[in-house]
């Protein structure tokens, strides 16, 4: 052992304080999903009639994009939470693969729907309204995911932030999806499936900086 390393070990032992182990991954996952379910319940309750939920099985593109958003959200959330735990790299990568694949398939189905059925024009401002609503609804899940990442040990903060923002965006978009009754494939792509992308573009850098700073 070199004397430098020996001195460092002495310093680390001296610096030792009791710590509470981070909560289990599945518990953290359950917390994020519980927060999301609470927001979803609140939105649907405030709307009185769950418009999107009612027409979920009426349209193939609508259903497929919902499944894509849900799988995308579940996968990205798991991946982001695993990113804060060293040694869970395989889970992190597998979950991210499922998430990205689901979102891509859903987007592809929407594109195909636009080509087959033809571009149905959205009501004026509907795309922007859903996008905005989705982004707002993503903030709470994003905060919860980030708080777990901050308390973990993220070895790649920027990547963890990106996946966390994708997850939060997909969770917010899924709520919007269930509360919006416009079935146009173009609207689903621009107003719903674009939410994770928008949140990732806007939130990754600030969230990455926060993670980097707090890790220090």
């Amino acid at each position: 052992m070199t004397s430098g390393t020996e001195r460092l070990i002495d310093g680390l032992v001296e610096d030792l304080e009791p710590v509470t182990p981070a909560i289990r991954l599945r518990q953290a996952y359950a917390v994020v999903l519980a927060v999301w379910a609470a927001v979803l319940g609140l939105v649907l309750w405030s709307q009185q009639s769950p418009m999107g939920a009612a027409s979920l099985f009426a349209d193939g593109v609508y259903l497929t994009s919902f499944v894509g958003l849900i799988l995308g959200a579940l996968g990205a959330t798991l991946s982001a939470l695993a990113a804060g735990r060293p040694g869970r790299d395989r889970l992190e990568n597998a979950a991210l693969g499922v998430s990205a694949g689901s979102l891509l398939v859903a987007s592809g189905v929407c594109l195909a729907g636009m080509l087959v059925v033809g571009a149905v024009p959205s009501p004026p401002g509907a795309d922007a309204m859903c996008l905005q609503k989705g982004a707002w609804l993503s903030l709470l899940p994003a905060g919860v995911i980030l708080s777990f990442l901050v308390r973990g040990w993220t070895t790649r903060p920027l990547r963890a932030a990106l996946v966390g923002m994708l997850a939060a965006g997909a969770l917010g978009a899924a709520i919007v999806h269930l509360s919006c009754d416009f079935l146009g494939a173009g609207h689903l792509l621009r107003g719903h499936l674009a939410v994770p992308l928008a949140l990732a573009l806007l939130g990754t850098y600030p969230a990455g900086v926060v993670l980097r700073r707090l890790r220090k």
């Binding site: 390393t5 680390l12 040990w153």
Partner: protein, 246 residues
């Protein structure tokens, strides 16, 4: 991303790593115990020590760190052949284990957790080396020494100018430069002392070196620094005889 970096991320077992778990001759008793114990026993013992360390047991923590540092060194040395750089990475990994110790869950195996941190320290090393590139500050240390070796007065003046230049630095940069260059601590030790990550300390030190170089160069231009060599020739003259601060 370099091949080394990709390999480190992919987590391929290092050649020395597998051998190490079977058994290794070592003069250090603890190291030998750690290496020769059957895999399951060793895993259980490390896990037990880590659990105790999370509760604040300093003895268990020392045993743990003593036992894992040769393992980490083997993982690192399989990828980084420069001894000094490898030792820096080992220390960074130990520091990361210390800082991230709450993320270890007692019901999970300790080995993968530790190896993931070690691998990431290696990746960080390659990334940083790549990033550093042109940003390194070159100080013509030998030239300065040549200019002043004949004169004790010159040495005194250099010391006083360095002290004055150090005083102009922001606190964080001055602390980083002092810990590394004057107290002679390694980056990881200095980071622990300053209470920041090794990466952050390196950035502070690097900025400090740059500011110091600017201040000292300014003094030379102002004529306070008496050099026989024209100031403008310094960079050209430094070729092949340059000390790079890391």
């Amino acid at each position: 991303m370099s091949a080394d970096e990709r390999e480190a991320i992919a987590g391929k077992p290092a050649t020395g790593d597998r051998e190490a778990s079977v058994g290794e001759t070592s003069t250090d008793g603890r190291e030998a115990i750690a290496a020769e114990a059957p895999e399951d026993d060793r895993e259980a013992r490390l896990s037990e020590w880590m659990r105790a360390a999370q509760d604040g047991d300093a003895d268990a923590y020392r045993r743990l760190l003593d036992a894992i540092q040769p393992m980490i060194r083997r993982i690192v040395r399989a990828k980084i052949h420069d001894e000094a750089a490898a030792e820096d990475v080992v220390q960074n990994a130990l520091l990361s284990i210390h800082r991230g110790r709450r993320t270890y869950r007692p019901e999970r195996p300790f080995g993968p957790w530790m190896r993931a941190i070690a691998r990431n320290s290696i990746v960080d090393h390659f990334r940083e080396r790549k990033r550093k590139g042109d940003r390194e500050v070159e100080l013509v240390q030998d030239e300065w020494a040549d200019e002043h070796e004949e004169s004790a007065e010159g040495d005194t003046r250099l010391a006083s100018e360095l002290v004055a230049a150090l005083d102009t630095l922001p606190d964080a940069q001055r602390e980083a430069v002092t810990l590394i260059q004057i107290e002679g601590l390694t980056v990881a030790e200095a980071a622990l002392r300053a209470g920041v990550s090794a990466g952050a300390l390196k950035v502070r030190a690097h900025r400090g070196y740059r500011s110091l170089a600017k201040v000292l160069e300014g003094e030379r231009v102002a004529g306070e620094w008496r050099s026989e060599r024209p100031v403008g020739d310094a960079a050209a003259a430094s070729e092949g005889n340059v000390e790079k601060f890391k």
